[in-house]
Symmetry: C4
Subunit: 227 residues, 4 copies
């Protein structure tokens, strides 16, 4: 029975893409719920201390918004992360001929890691100086990377890649995942000194990934390791 079911379930790349786009869309939009609007009463109760006019109230609201700094940083970092992994998953799915049940489950696992990112982000925003919170965030990044890696390796072995693809296509995907995961791990290790340095390094890496610079040294090491 199961054998039959495996043959009929999870073959559609189109619906896997649709579910993925949906989950990325919801996760990206849920991140914003972490940006809490300052509480009205607090601003008002603070106001009398200044015993000043309308302008001071504006200043107070400005100050309250400035306190959203850490939330905004983690929001942007996570939005960029989701963008990067959305593009990475999309590039892979474009390279597959069809899906199988196993491949579908690898991607459902990947999507599970995507839905966990708003939680990890929220944890980090509230405990931005805690290594434990940063560790949870990093584990989330690692999980995303490992599952994308598992996807391309399985697809290559199971013969699901499009025929017109050059043999190097699989390597491009997995090298990219490995090199950034190595750098994410190094960035996380910087938290031994300070979590802010670590977060700054992660954000720099995401910008690096988005702007599409070369990573020559990692590349060379990987070519050596792969040969």
């Amino acid at each position: 029975m199961q054998t039959h079911y495996s043959r009929i379930a999870g073959r559609s790349l189109e619906r896997l893409s649709a579910l993925s786009d949906g989950i990325f869309a919801v996760a990206m939009t849920l991140l914003v719920l972490e940006l809490h609007v300052p509480v009205m009463d607090a601003a008002h109760t603070l106001a009398p201390i200044w015993t000043a006019g309308e302008l001071d109230q504006e200043v107070l609201l400005g100050q309250a918004l400035a306190k959203l700094g850490p939330s905004i940083s983690t929001y942007l970092m996570s939005f960029m992360t989701l963008g990067i992994f959305w593009l990475g998953q999309q590039a892979q799915l474009n390279h597959f001929r069809e899906s199988t049940r196993v491949l579908s489950w690898i991607h459902i696992g990947f999507l599970c890691a995507v839905t966990l990112l708003p939680f990890s982000t929220s944890l980090l925003a509230q405990f931005i100086t805690y290594r434990v919170a940063l560790g949870v965030y990093w584990l989330n990044l690692l999980l995303l990377g490992l599952l994308l890696m598992a996807s391309i390796r399985y697809a290559a072995r199971a013969g699901l890649l499009r025929d017109e693809l050059p043999p190097a296509a699989r390597l491009i995907h997995s090298r990219r995942v490995v090199s950034y995961q190595v750098l994410y791990a190094l960035a996380f290790l910087l938290s031994i000194i300070n979590t802010y340095i670590s977060i700054a390094a992660l954000i720099a890496l995401q910008f690096h990934s988005i702007l599409g610079f070369e990573l020559p040294f990692v590349r060379r090491g990987l070519i050596l390791a792969a040969s």
Copy 2:
């Protein structure tokens, strides 16, 4: 008028798939809202008791995260459940030639059961030792199964299955639903002893379903029952 309307409404499998993917995506992502970030103040107010340095604070946050254990278990169980039923529904929709208004309503009912799962999950996470909470969760699973069953039976009777399908296709779908529903019911009955055993059995079943092992004894019983 109604007859006319039935002839023009709910024929598109494509839009039914799109609505389904959207609802599954939102339900899967909403599950994560059940994972509450530990409250900052509590951790801070606890800290002075230890009168220790930075490291103890980290330990306290780690302990607070460890308390999310039950929530994380039910989160994973529900995510797997949604993945399983998403694949099951997708496999069915792939087998249909077109939809009808009745079939659309069966699937809207199924999607209603999907949207209820975050509620059942949340209830179970907060009342994990209560048989009533587990019963609600099990009823939700039952409803999902019954509606998928109704869908394939109706589609077969109404001649909506693709012509190229082997006659056994309908049986594969319904046997799979029946066999797992029997096992879900048995797992729920284990809650007479203890709800944790029951939940462990449900999680084991979901892993079983995902990994795609055979269910030979159920299969044989069903073949007998169907012959």
Copy 3:
């Protein structure tokens, strides 16, 4: 400039469908947030009063769940409503050749009414005996109907209907909207007696619409009115 822009914007029925499916999916799933899990502490603090064992706790949770009755009724009513209007909109979009900017805006307005339904539902669930709350809910239903009506009328006048459609197609759509809107209004008027009767009538109408019975008297009246 505007003229030019009108010629290039909002022509894609495909993306209008995608946005609609997304909004319906989110609105349908958000409805469940109205089902609040009973608060843990309350159940625990109640427990000692009974000074009984485990079973009484289960009974207490069962009683707390039973109190969700009104929320569950309004949840189901709204889910059915969204299903009905989703099918109605889908049937229309299937009948259009292409979209225009005006048609897109009519449907964006319709989607705005869709996103308001979780609010109206929540209001009604919490103030189920208030005519004001029921009035808001009914206005929401009316808005949904009026905009679907505007859509089909505009599309017919602007020549956007598919050529292969029989001339009666437009009438089927608008008659259906008008007849149910008349019945919704009558159901709302029953709230002069009691809001529960009114809600029961609305739920009965939604079941009627879903099960697809004829509405002969309304039909005949409309044929007369239209001739």
Copy 4:
């Protein structure tokens, strides 16, 4: 490695559209969460003061709903804004032959600005008399416009526009963005007098944009500036 990756990532306009529709759908539906249902207890505790019957309770609820006025205005303004920018983005994507990684990132940035709008709206609804809150809202509108502008300029330069497009197509898109952004900025400047006037001007502009009137004076100025 990066060069290779750029060649394979982010080429699909279809999935970019799907992600966009998903994010717009979630953001549009999340806006409604800003409409808080009046608190039940408050209405009940107020009731005894009036020591009147059922009717007074209804009046109280009506008054409580009337207080949602500012929230409803900002809700509608933001819903219209999202509708306008959804159509604007859609019109652009329809004009592109394919995507590139850079174009994908411009649109992911645009979608980031879309997800921020529920936050800006919520901030403005709660601090409707504060220029700081209106400034944040205006910055959000500006960001949306700048990124749409960047998208069309980049696409034209990178040769991604469809061949059949008249050369003026790029100008239509960018002129429209520029002219409305100039008007948004002027509307924001009105907040020197009063934020309500400023909001009224913004709402008027959104209606103007939706109804599709000409903006002759801005047009002429731009033609001069562009020649």
